[in-house]
């Protein structure tokens, strides 16, 4: 049961054509699977392709190659009823709680829209269900008649979560759900997401750039760099024993809110910046910033190897 994967991403690539000659490879040959009931975290810096993979999983983008299977069905081949069922069971929570709610709709309409589309309830029953969802996410039922502008950022994010929950999903893609919120509100929303996961047996794909939050919420974490998955491990293992030089650098870049620790020199400071994904370096994408780069790194793209059980890394240092 615990090891049953609900979603499998197999060798998925996504290429965007920018003009006749320019192509941007947002995601390159990515493979991983997500188990039922777990929280899978994806971290990486802007432009690493983490949001693209989220959208591929929702079926908003079609992969250039590779397949994504949800409960053993290729989600990009689904049609009619089956497609509608998939769209009900897989929901999304967006980053920006200001832009992702229609300002002209009341909270009632926003939360109920999905229920109507999927014909889950109508009339009085539908209203009751909306109230129930609002209370579940920590809002009050009399908030239903209000408009999004009457709420704070944290409350809007709760509305977004209530909307996702309204259609009884199994799998939620949360794309940077807390990065637009203040610190004290972030903890509220994360606690809410975890409570809901336990209550409803949800599976999460949690996409973020904040490593300490991802570590805290996720069971397993994948680290992405320039469209590639460079490391994948259980979250405690990844933070205890990061293998890839990029993961090591990311971890040591997090500012620690403790002055005694902060004064100790410990930084693996990366020089330079992320290369342009339109014109990526040959071989390993990270070699231009890597403190351990070797000759082979420029020539051969490293493949993922399982260093210790369930700890995968794509780096020539470990082959």
């Amino acid at each position: 049961m615990a090891n049953q994967s609900i979603l499998t991403v197999n060798q998925v690539s996504k290429v965007f054509s920018l003009s006749r000659k320019k192509q941007l490879q947002a995601v390159k040959e990515l493979s991983f699977s997500i188990r039922k009931g777990e929280t899978f975290g994806l971290v990486g810096e802007s432009g690493c392709g983490k949001s693209t993979i989220g959208r591929l999983i929702l079926g908003l983008y079609t992969p250039t190659s590779g397949t994504i299977r949800y409960r053993d069905q290729d989600i990009h081949q689904l049609k009619g009823k089956k497609q509608q069922h998939f769209r009900q069971k897989v929901q999304m929570v967006f980053q920006d709680p200001y832009a992702s709610l229609n300002p002209r709709m009341t909270v009632m309409d926003i939360v109920a829209e999905g229920m109507e589309i999927h014909q889950l309830a109508s009339g009085k029953q539908k209203r009751e269900m909306v109230y129930q969802r609002l209370e579940q996410v920590g809002l009050q039922s009399d908030h239903a008649s209000r408009f999004p502008h009457e709420f704070s950022g944290g409350q809007r994010q709760r509305i977004g979560i209530a909307r996702a929950l309204a259609v009884e999903p199994e799998f939620i893609v949360a794309d940077e759900p807390i990065s637009a919120l203040d610190v004290s509100i972030q903890a509220q929303v994360v606690n809410l997401l975890r409570k809901l996961q336990q209550e409803q047996d949800l599976t999460y794909l949690f996409i973020a750039h904040d490593l300490s939050m991802v570590k805290y919420i996720s069971d397993r974490v994948g680290v992405m760099y320039l469209g590639r998955l460079v490391e994948l491990a259980a979250s405690d293992e990844l933070y205890r024993r990061p293998l890839h030089p990029y993961t090591q650098a990311l971890l040591s870049s997090i500012p620690v809110p403790d002055p005694r620790q902060a004064r100790q020199p410990k930084r693996v400071l990366l020089s330079g910046e992320v290369p342009n994904p339109i014109d990526p370096p040959s071989g390993c994408p990270f070699r231009t910033r890597c403190p351990h780069a070797m000759k082979i790194c420029a020539e051969v793209d490293p493949t993922e190897i399982e260093d210790t059980p369930n700890h995968w890394v794509a780096c020539h240092l470990y082959t």
Partner: protein, 336 residues
């Protein structure tokens, strides 16, 4: 040491069609030469408004209701715009949060950098160019000669923030105000920029007023910290005092709501319930009373004054009153 900048009882309000929004409600602080003072707080707490007030860059809807800002025997709130222009850039400089929008997209890096050099230092074109190249190398930009001719859109976010820093340093300021300088940047680039700011500060001996919401950054770079909440200073002290002898329940709440890297997933985060008060109708007593787990009857009636816990540590909380119960002192905050 005489302070470089002193802010006394500053009140700033915005006028909106709904009424007066009291963004800053009576704050006092001083910045000493060469030190790093951090202002932390969440959105809407008044930290950016404070910075904009010092620079006199407030939008036209805002007004300094009362208070003074002393910089070298002058009150900045009373200066004429012309006098203020000679201070901006050459005495006090500022870098902004968003390097994407704070550079002019129609001017080259060189033009934007040399503008200040020619205006404040009265350099001729040749010398200004030479100095601009030096500044770009100082902030770690390779090939400065070529970069001077480029436009902002040709640079990455981290590079643009480096250019912003170079522009701010052009007039050799004594005080640099950095308003969330790394919020828009990725974490590895953020580490680079903070490292750069620290090294430049040491080299040039300027004071840094750092505005941020990230307590991790504060722990790494600041000497002293001020925590703002709803337009007021709630706690003020050295970095060690603030992190290890946390007094105010809000500061404590902020520290506890961050996940620790070693924290197990079984423990829930200690979130602060509720949300900050509406500054259209600011609370008369303690602004944190509705979210505070230790609130007492008096907290809802009389505003707490900033009281000293040590010569450098002040807190505005009724729990510090001699008559308050001392149970809260046992909570995690100091060395456990």
């Amino acid at each position: 040491m005489t302070p470089l900048l002193t802010v006394n009882n500053l009140h700033v309000s915005f006028h909106s069609y709904q009424g007066e929004i009291q963004a800053v409600r009576g704050i006092h602080f001083a910045v000493k030469p060469g030190e790093t003072l951090a202002i932390v707080g969440e959105s809407g707490c008044g930290k950016s408004v404070t910075a904009q007030t010092i620079m006199r860059l407030l939008p036209s809807t805002a007004k300094i209701v009362q208070g003074e800002i002393r910089y070298e025997q002058q009150d900045l709130t009373q200066l004429t715009e012309v006098k203020m222009e000679s201070i901006r850039g050459s005495q006090i400089a500022m870098i902004f949060q968003d390097p994407m929008t704070s550079l002019n997209p129609t001017m080259t890096i060189g033009q934007q950098l040399m503008e200040g050099l020619r205006k404040h230092l009265h350099l001729n074109k040749r010398l200004a160019k030479k100095r601009a190249e030096e500044l770009l190398s100082l902030v770690g930009i390779s090939n400065p000669h070529l970069r001077l001719k480029q436009y902002p859109h040709q640079l990455s976010g981290g590079m643009r923030q480096r250019v912003m820093i170079a522009i701010a340093l052009a007039g050799d300021p004594k005080l640099l105000i950095a308003d969330e300088p790394t919020t828009a940047l990725d974490v590895t680039i953020q580490a680079q920029i903070m490292e750069l700011l620290k090294s430049i500060q040491e080299k040039m001996g300027m004071a840094l007023l750092l505005i941020t919401h990230d307590l991790g950054i504060v722990a790494e770079v600041a000497d002293r910290v001020m925590v703002m909440y709803a337009g007021k200073i709630v706690e003020h002290g050295t970095v060690d005092e603030l992190f290890q002898h946390t007094k105010h329940p809000y500061t404590w709440g902020l520290l506890r709501s961050l996940p620790q890297l070693k924290q197990s997933r079984e423990e829930s985060l200690v979130a602060i319930p509720g949300s900050p008060p509406d500054l259209l109708h600011p609370p008369k007593a303690c602004p944190y009373v509705n979210r505070c787990l230790q609130a007492m009857v008096i907290c809802d009636q009389t505003p707490p004054e900033l009281t000293a816990c040590s010569s450098t540590h002040q807190v505005a909380c009724w729990l510090e009153h001699p008559m308050a119960s001392k149970e809260h002192e046992n909570r995690a905050g100091g060395d456990e």
